[in-house]
Amino acid sequence: MSSAVLGQDTRAVGRGRPGVRLNLTPGSTLGLGVAMLWFSLLVLIPLAAIVATAGKDGVHGYVEVLENPQTWAAIKLTVGQSALVTLLNVVMGTLIAWVLVRDRFWGRGLLDVLIDIPFAMPTIVTGLVLLGLYGPQSPLGVNVANQRASVTLALAFVTLPFIVRTVQPVLAELDADVEEAAASLGARRLTILRRLVLPSLVPAITAGAALSFARAISEYGSLVLISGNLPYKTQVVSVRVSSFIEGGDQTSAAALATIMLAVALFVIVMLDIIQRRVARRG
């Protein structure tokens, strides 16, 4: 499968063959209008409602939500675990992409399909599936249920494909001649990897890491069953938001959601910038 699943390919707009861009015709203006109306009703207005609801109490509202020790613990846990898992993915994702592109062995096709499974897996099932192997009835004797490690495990599962799938196509397109030239000029393997291969992978790794971090920060379904949602211990931000909603405290929920939304927006903007920089260079 391609990176298009995650792909920042939407931002490939303006790349490729230039062609003639049309100005809007009456028909396409109508299309744009209808699309924008639906997009606004579905995405823009609801997201604006979150920010507006959160802003009802002004800055005071945010401070109050953040000062709540349970919320603060949830934020620390979520950011810490997401960073940890993203770091893990930077190493493992790049390594797996390397093996998938440069290595040939029996079962490689299966490995390739397994990477995509976390994409297709319903999140609630992810929790259930991980509990089967790493829960109370674990055949391995490893029980992470209701432990911190369960959060790490679930996040590692759901974010597995991101870096693999962003690095894989870049690695496959890499010019072998340059590496051979470097080798024939006497560069050692490690030097080639460090000076030639790794730098060309950095944008892809960064993009994948951003997606993986964004996904980890916002994860909900897979954590519900396995983490036990224990305050101060395994309760993540999205679970905290949902408990605010269930308790009828929409303002606090919205305040916390606004912070998550800001992170999401930051990631999207960063991806846009990386993509454009690569496109310009490429």
Binding site: A4, M92, W98
Partner: protein, 270 residues
Amino acid sequence: MVELSAPVKWALRLIAVGYVLMLVGWPMVTLAQNAFSDGLTNFTSAFSDPDVVHAMVLTIEISGWAVAINTVFGVGMALLLVRYEFPGKRVLSALVDLPMAVSPVVIGLALLLVYNGRTGWFGPTLEANGVQVMFAMPAMIMATCFVSLPLVVREVVPVLTEIGDDQEQAARSLGASATQTLRRITLPAIKWAVVYGVVLTFARSIGEYGALKIVSGNLSGQTQNAPLVIAQLYDNFAKGEAYAVAFTLVLLAVLCIVIVSLLRPKESSS
């Protein structure tokens, strides 16, 4: 190309395969084992419950709507983004990706704040006119559309960019109308990208949990979809049944992914 020494190569291979097997492969096998722990008993017992059957049917129904809406929106949006110039295009192109980075819970909350019948921005007006959005089909379809919004756009945009518009221009200069060009030239060219987008949207839609938990009301036999039923069965200690429904759902989703990966190489070799 850099040739790694044999021990390094084997070590990397082992780490990659080991990691993926421990994280994904083995847990998947355990799921199957748990689902079939008593032969087919878990399945017969789960699917003799009318609420479970209703949830499965509802899931497929919601996903069908989401796929239909997102396909029309996705193809239209991709055409606009690639073929036309208009102010705000870059912002729109980035915003279309936003749903991928937003938490399902935040999506649920966003829809709740606008469409709930008591304090929502539009909810009370809509309900006064007899349109029940929240805790009913419309909200569930909207939440599902939201989470899977970028999938079709993302598949179609690169293909549209890649094929360029030479053929479309030729068709137009030979006197084809806009509709004819779209139907005879553009749509056949992006056919496979749309198929991938549809399959991925479907796979994503049948598994949505977080957003639907908030906007559906989670009423057994009424607004409960399959993932919500799985969570409820598990919480009620009907673990065997939970695994059976989960296995069925995963089978559907994984089938989608396998279809996509089987279709994809064919396209690049042609």
